[in-house]
Amino acid sequence: MSKAELKVKGGKLVKCRLDVEEGYIKNIKYTGDFFLHPEEYIEKLENSLTGAAASTEIIKNIIEEFFKKPEITLIGASPEDFVKVTLSCLEAYK
């Protein structure tokens, strides 16, 4: 289990917790005081990362593509913040 958190400048806090097993993400959870609409999409993001190879490029790509969905509004943090906090969480496994 590895943890990372990121305080967005002038914004909110985004935290990430994840487990990597044999090079793949086994569990991942985001917490914090940001706003994501619709809220249930956080589970979709977590699901789409679960089972993904723990590589910088792949993770970055999944997160960036996810936040391009037109129905999503993210407030108090940016997709890049999610990328950053996830990658710093992954660092622990390198």
């Binding site: 909110k12 935290k15 959870k29 005081d33 706003f35 609409h37 809220e39 407030i75």
Partner: protein
């Protein structure tokens, strides 16, 4: 459109959150009009945002000892200590396509917060909207607000601090005991305020309720009648309370 105003009620945390969900469903179904409700929390409670980790944010042990409720909201944002004596909470529940309501979420926060700003102004406070979701007086936060949009309906709820006991607040919100030093208290005092801290007088709940109702009705330009929950909303409230907000799985899901 004539709004419904549900005057100040006092409920436990899970019921307060269940009422919001029940009204949201009925506004969505077109059976209930746009609604403003005012409420307090008894016992005092901590609410955490949709995405927050309860264990990261709340001193569960202290809450249990003191009989403080813990509930997870359906809105994002941060943890709030809802002191029975020191704060009042409101909810505004309206269709997303309500006339004059911006599609843009931050603009709609600002419009709805306008009602609170008016009420605070009438009490002699120079209140300002601070994006994303705060209202400040003299640069210090006095009101926090959170919004969700579901089933074609906007639910915005938020809190207005009437009186603030920082030591009490940090007994329940998680900051390690050592950190509740004079230094931390001072830095919180520099960032958070209350009506009492500024005016020196604690407004009574009837007075602040009356000003909030007037403020919201002027800034959102509505006429209203006072009313309670409909029988369907009462039933939905019981269901949401039992199945969701009182359910440990929901409260501890993150």
């Amino acid at each position: 459109m004539i709004w419904r105003v549900i005057p100040l009620t006092v409920n436990k945390a899970s019921v307060n959150m269940a009422v919001d969900s029940a009204i949201l469903d009925e506004v969505s179904a077109g059976r209930s009009p746009p609604t403003l409700r005012l409420y307090r929390w008894k016992p005092s409670a901590v609410s955490v945002g949709y995405f927050q980790s309860v264990n990261d944010e709340v001193n569960i042990e202290a809450c249990r000892e003191m009989g403080v409720d813990v509930v997870r909201r359906i809105t994002g944002g941060g943890a709030v200590y809802h002191s029975y004596e020191g704060e009042i909470t409101y909810s505004v529940i309206i269709p997303e396509d309500y006339e004059g309501m911006p599609k843009d979420i931050i603009s709609s926060y600002e419009l709805i917060c306008g009602g609170i700003i008016k009420a605070l102004n009438w009490l002699g406070l120079k209140a300002e909207f601070k994006p994303v979701n705060d209202i400040t007086v003299e640069g210090k936060k006095i009101s926090g607000n959170a919004q969700t949009r579901r089933k074609g309906v906007i639910l915005q709820h938020g809190t207005i601090l009437l009186d603030l006991n920082i030591k009490e607040m940090f007994n329940f919100l998680k900051v390690s005991k050592e950190k509740i030093s004079d230094k931390l208290i001072k830095s919180v005092e520099e960032r958070v305020t209350s009506i009492t801290s500024i005016t020196g007088v604690k407004p009574d709940f009837a007075k602040i309720s009356q000003l909030l109702i007037k403020g919201f009705s002027e800034s959102l330009k509505f006429n209203y009648t006072f009313n309670g929950l409909t029988p369907i909303e009462e039933k939905l409230t019981r269901e949401y309370d039992e199945k969701q907000f009182s359910n440990r799985e929901w409260v501890f899901r993150r």
